[in-house]
């Protein structure tokens, strides 16, 4: 029942359920830094060096990257640098570290920063900029971002009016995972409005099911999936303008809008009839890891699981992800069928050096060229770069995500907890919503978070 290990494909297998055997290029690649430029890029045969001409000859130069992206997701990243390495002669040194988010601050402050870091939260970018070590983005990067991204994305990469970091990848958080087979067998339809979603849920309850499953346990970050839930409802029930004011603290954290949003989440997650399929009662959401949260869908013990696009990696490699597979996702609908609010996240490329090769590399990463190269070698990756041709994406969830992100009618909003001050976004928001789930009432919860907002 398992993919044969030891074959050159096993890395793809690990890349998880996402791969589905479509990632043909990966099998030939070794560790990018170990190889001479040019030898490992068989998948990208016949590289056209024209787009890279502008960078000039940078032979013998090195660029170091430090990121939180580790095995197996790091492989497509290293792979996507190959054309750049080959055409410019630069060697890219990649270091992935799960503890990136805390270690990068230590390194920056101790003058030991890498040339380039992939920062997963605008809030963290702000703190890095505060250390005074981050360089402003070069003009070429700014031009690329103006061309390929919406103004909102540029804003996320800016601190105090200065533009520092170009967006890299993106993830769509407004997704609900489900079993296409179950939907077909039971005659369920993908909901188009929030009211539909509620009706669907009730229908499932009537069919004797526990519709929703969830897990919020994530070590020191326990609680973050709840903040995503609440943000999704905040965005839907009160609209993007109010959402923006809320995350900037222009309206109080504990105002009527937030109360409404959290109560709306409570109608799902604090309802013993609705949760926690495959895991037990409401409280079991707190003890279930977010990685396990949606797995009961595969067992038929749960029908719906709200989680970001990257969750695809958590399904075992035996499960097929796709519209006709074992599991797939639909867009968490807006309040009405014609509104399309999207909650998402992404990484940003911050540079701590301004040597020509570093600038060239930043420029490359912000280009449509890179986005398409990356799409071809990745599974479970998407970007909001408008230069991306969705046809280059490898798997159905990525295609769905790109569709949602690039939909001109969509209103994209970044994960608010990543934008709030760390004392809230990385601390009390997680902690208090966790306490809320295990019994604390909505008012106390929101009041406590409001009280923790740095003065």
């Amino acid at each position: 029942m398992f993919v044969q290990r030891g074959s050159s494909r096993s890395r793809v297998a690990i890349a998880g359920a996402l791969s589905m055997g479509l990632v043909f290029g990966l099998s030939a690649c070794g560790d990018s830094k170990d190889e001479e430029p040019g030898t490992g890029a068989t998948s990208l045969a016949a590289i056209d060096c024209t787009p890279y001409k502008a960078f000039g000859d940078l032979t013998g130069k090195e660029v170091s990257i430090y990121t939180g992206i580790v095995t197996p997701e790091d492989t497509p990243h290293k792979e996507s640098y190959k054309p750049f390495e080959q055409c410019t002669g630069v060697t890219v040194k990649y270091e992935g570290d799960k503890a990136f988010e805390t270690q990068i601050l230590v390194r920056a402050e101790a003058n030991n920063a890498p040339d380039v870091a992939f920062v997963p939260q605008p809030g963290l970018l702000q703190r890095l900029v505060q250390t005074g070590k981050v360089k402003e983005a070069p003009a070429e990067v700014a031009a690329n971002v103006d061309k390929f991204w919406g103004a909102d994305w540029k804003e996320y990469g800016s601190v105090g009016g200065k533009f520092y970091a170009a967006p890299l990848g993106a993830s769509v958080k407004s997704l609900v995972w489900f079993s296409p087979k179950e939907f077909k067998d039971s005659g369920y339809a993908e909901p188009k409005t929030l009211a539909d979603l509620k009706a669907l849920t009730d229908k499932m309850v009537a069919d004797g099911k526990k519709p929703w499953c969830a897990g919020i346990n994530s070590g020191e970050a326990t609680g973050w999936p709840l903040t995503d839930w609440m943000e999704d409802f905040m965005l839907r029930l009160s609209g993007p303008e109010t959402y923006d004011k809320w995350l900037k603290h222009e309206i109080p954290f504990n105002g009527p809008e937030a109360t409404k949003a959290l109560d709306a989440v409570g109608e799902y997650l604090k309802n013993d009839k609705y949760v926690n399929g495959g895991y037990g009662d409401v409280k079991s959401i707190a003890s279930t890891t977010f990685q396990d949260g949606g797995l009961p869908i595969l067992e038929g013990q749960c029908s719906l699981h709200r989680q970001a696009s990257f969750y695809a990696a958590n399904f075992p490699k035996t499960a097929k992800v796709g519209p006709d597979g074992d599991v797939f996702a639909f867009y968490l609908p807006g309040e009405t069928a014609d509104s399309a609010p999207v909650l998402g996240g992404g990484e940003f490329v911050a540079a701590f050096a301004d040597r020509p090769e570093v600038k060239a590399f930043q420029t490359y990463l912000s280009s449509d060229t890179w986005a398409n190269v990356k799409a071809k070698v990745s599974a479970g990756w998407v970007t909001a770069n408008k230069g991306l041709d969705p046809a280059n994406l490898q798997n159905p969830v990525d295609k769905l995500s790109a569709e949602i992100l690039l939909n001109p009618k969509a209103t994209f909003r970044f994960d608010a907890s990543d934008l709030m001050p760390a004392a809230v976004g990385q601390n009390t928001f997680w902690k208090q919503t966790t306490a809320w789930l295990t019994g604390q009432d909505t008012k106390t919860t929101l009041d406590k978070i409001e009280a923790s907002w740095p003065k």
Partner: protein
């Protein structure tokens, strides 16, 4: 009371002379079957968690997530895939390299603090100088400094010294962090050495250097082996220091283990196998050095 006798007591495991120790007497009180039972209960309680991990490391990924490891016994389905994945260069986790890094980090990080601490412990135990007690108290209290507060200043220092990204950072950091506890423990052993031995050497005209080498070090060698084992384990299993100071080329096995679980995943099947691989060295070291270890600590309680 002679001092030599306890120091040469045979190590455990070897031929042990049958004398009544207080422990044996206390055990008798508990009457043999009960004592054995209690010992077995503790041993089982302490071993079951690790045993569960061992079994888990041989189970297929899907089973690990769905059923308890004990179901293995009614439905034994063995797979080596987890271990293959851990060792396969294709996962991007070539553990052999990181094994070497772990060894290279650990060996000097054990040797350096041991010698420095024994010199210091000797000074505290057998020398008189102003401020001795205060200095000892300060060093003792430094044990509590959370390592996290030291990371930024120390890394800044290493960057300024041009050592960032080299093994020197971890060697110096581990050695420094080990000193307070090492000095405290070794001081406890050294001060128990009967002063008559030291005095006798002094009367013979020996200076501090020769006393340290001729009298103390032979008595202390086993104690050093003992502390050496603990220091070895702590350094080998360290994650925090390695994360901060090492780069990709010199990082130890613990860093790789923690990264192996994937960017957002908890790959229990990989972790369980990887954890066992990383345990092999420390357990072997313990088993090999256990006899020295026991003898080493004997020196500490000579007074009786």
């Amino acid at each position: 009371m002679t001092t030599e006798a306890p120091l040469t007591t045979a190590p455990v495991g070897g031929a042990v002379k049958k004398v009544t120790t207080p422990a044996a007497a206390a055990k008798k009180k508990l009457s043999s079957p009960w004592a054995s039972l209690a010992a077995i209960v503790i041993a089982v309680l302490w071993t079951v968690p690790t045993f569960g991990l061992l079994v888990t490391s041989f189970r297929p990924e899907a089973d690990i997530k769905k059923t308890g490891w004990w179901t293995f016994f009614s439905n034994p389905l063995v797979t080596f895939e987890n271990y293959e994945a851990v060792f396969g260069a294709e996962e991007g986790v070539n553990l052999a390299d990181y094994f070497l890094n772990s060894l290279i980090i650990t060996i000097p990080s054990v040797i350096i603090p041991l010698f420095l601490a024994s010199l210091a412990a000797y000074a505290f135990a057998w020398m008189n100088f102003p401020g001795k007690n205060l200095l000892f108290i300060v060093i003792f209290a430094l044990q509590i400094v959370p390592l996290q507060v030291t990371l930024i200043p120390l890394l800044t220092f290493f960057v300024d010294a041009g050592l960032a990204g080299t093994f020197w950072t971890v060697w110096l950091a581990h050695s420094t962090f080990a000193l307070p506890l090492a000095i405290y423990l070794l001081h406890n052993f050294i001060k128990e050495v009967p002063s008559s031995l030291i005095e006798a050497a002094r009367i013979d005209g020996a200076g501090h250097v020769s006393i340290f080498f001729r009298v103390l070090l032979p008595l202390l060698t086993p104690a050093l082996a003992a502390f050496g084992i603990f220091q070895f384990l702590w350094v080998w299993n360290d994650l925090l220091v390695a994360l901060t100071f090492t780069g990709p080329q010199i990082s130890p096995i613990t860093v790789q283990l923690s990264n192996m679980t994937g960017t957002r995943g908890t790959a229990w099947y990989l972790l369980s196998a990887g954890a066992f691989v990383s345990m092999v060295v420390p357990v072997t070291v313990f088993l090999l050095l256990q006899r020295y270890f026991v003898r080493g600590l004997l020196a500490g309680s000579v007074k009786g």
